[in-house]
């Protein structure tokens, strides 16, 4: 792929990430969730949007690199670490809803953390190995 194509791909991927992690949560919050102030979700939505900007940046960094390069493998590794932080926070959040003045409902999804942690750590481990694999193959092709 030429540099121009890679940059175009990077911009597209970054904009897609911004749409999914920034624009979409903002639209869902302002259109629907804002009608339930008792859920107090504003700070979580802000956090998702902030993480979305970081994810979009890493996606750009990863996508402007050529296939099977160390930079792309590092981008994948970085992305899996950021996703781990993102979902860890998401699963540890407790939704506190004040249904009436005297009735409060608290729901949490913390039971999912362990499965996600296992999946994410396996993913990170795979990406670490991939960085070494790509780096090693690049080193070998250079020596040839």
């Amino acid at each position: 792929m030429t540099d121009r194509k890679l940059i175009r791909k990077g911009v597209f991927v970054a904009i897609s990430s911004l749409f999914f992690y920034v624009a979409l949560p903002y639209i869902i919050y302002t259109k629907y969730l804002v009608q339930f102030p008792q859920l107090a979700l504003e700070s979580y939505i802000n956090w998702i949007m902030r993480m979305g900007v970081i994810i979009a940046g890493i996606q750009f960094f990863k996508s402007v690199s050529s296939e099977k390069t160390t930079r792309q493998a590092l981008g994948d590794l970085l992305l899996s670490i950021v996703y781990l932080i993102f979902f860890f926070k998401l699963f540890t959040l407790e939704v506190v809803a004040n249904v009436t003045e005297n009735v409060t409902v608290i729901i949490s999804m913390e039971g999912f953390i362990y499965i996600y942690l296992l999946a994410a750590l396996i993913g990170i481990f795979a990406n670490v190995i991939r960085v070494f694999e790509v780096w090693n193959s690049a080193r070998r092709s250079r020596s040839f």
Partner: protein, 255 residues
């Protein structure tokens, strides 16, 4: 060529897909759950326990059952920074069944437990009676809690208690003393109050007498003891004791 990283990554992706399915089914299933706490009945029984009785109706039309369902009754001050008493009752499991399932609870807290806090003996105050239902849904993956807060006017048995002595000379070495006491009795219960009094001199305690008073509901009680003789410079100890389970001591210097 198949890389080791790709094989490991497949496991990770498989787990993430499994997690996604679990989340989707659990959240989707939760939509079909309906929990109702029927208005609870509360009061003080003949054993001087505060009781709260009620029924929880659960319509669990989802795919998963409820585990470790537990109900807790907590008495707290109105600022929620001090817990006076707490009692729990397990409610067990609720299987996935669309028909209404009833779980009754009967929670009791002895009044004596609340009377270990001095402010609840001496002052009418607003306290919170919290009923909290806790449990886990979808194989323990979704813990949840429902809290119902009920503010109640706590009626102290010795509200605004005032104790003072009327002292007169008996002879050159002794004085004649009358103990005066006044307080407001609680609005929703009556009880028997025993008032024992002693005098202390040189670290030696001497018992004088015990009064037994029937305290009616919602009155201003004002009374005194019969006169008794104490040595000069002694201290009078008055002990208020009740079948409700409280003991309150007052020390007064004989002037």
């Amino acid at each position: 060529m198949v890389k080791i990283s790709s094989i490991i990554n497949i496991f990770s992706i498989f787990l993430k897909v499994f997690l996604g399915i679990m989340i989707f089914t659990a959240v989707f299933s939760l939509i079909y759950v309906n929990i109702t706490v029927e208005p609870a009945e509360y009061g003080i029984n003949e054993d001087f326990n505060i009781y709260v009785k009620g029924t929880i109706v659960v319509q669990n039309a989802g795919f998963y059952e409820f585990d470790d369902l537990n109900i807790t009754l907590t008495f707290q001050n109105q600022y929620e920074n001090e817990t006076f008493a707490q009692v729990s009752q397990p409610l067990g499991k609720i299987p996935a069944d669309p028909s209404p399932q009833y779980k009754s609870f009967d929670l009791q807290v002895p009044l004596s437990q609340l009377f270990s806090y001095k402010q609840l003996i001496l002052n009418d105050t607003l306290i919170l009676m919290n009923l909290e239902i806790k449990g886990e849904y979808a194989l323990g993956l979704i813990p949840f809690g429902i809290t119902v807060k009920q503010p109640i006017e706590w009626e102290a048995p010795l509200d605004q208690l005032k104790v003072y002595l009327t002292v007169s000379d008996y002879n050159s070495t002794h004085k004649s003393v009358i103990i005066n006491y006044e307080f407001y009795s609680p609005a929703y219960y009556s009880y028997i109050l025993n008032i024992s009094y002693f005098y202390l001199q040189n670290s030696k305690e001497t018992y004088v007498d015990t009064l037994s008073v029937s305290v009616p509901q919602d009155r201003h009680i004002s009374d005194h003891t019969l006169p008794f003789v104490v040595p000069n410079g002694s201290t009078v100890k008055v002990v208020f004791l009740s079948e409700l389970g409280f003991t309150y001591e007052v020390l007064l210097e004989v002037g």
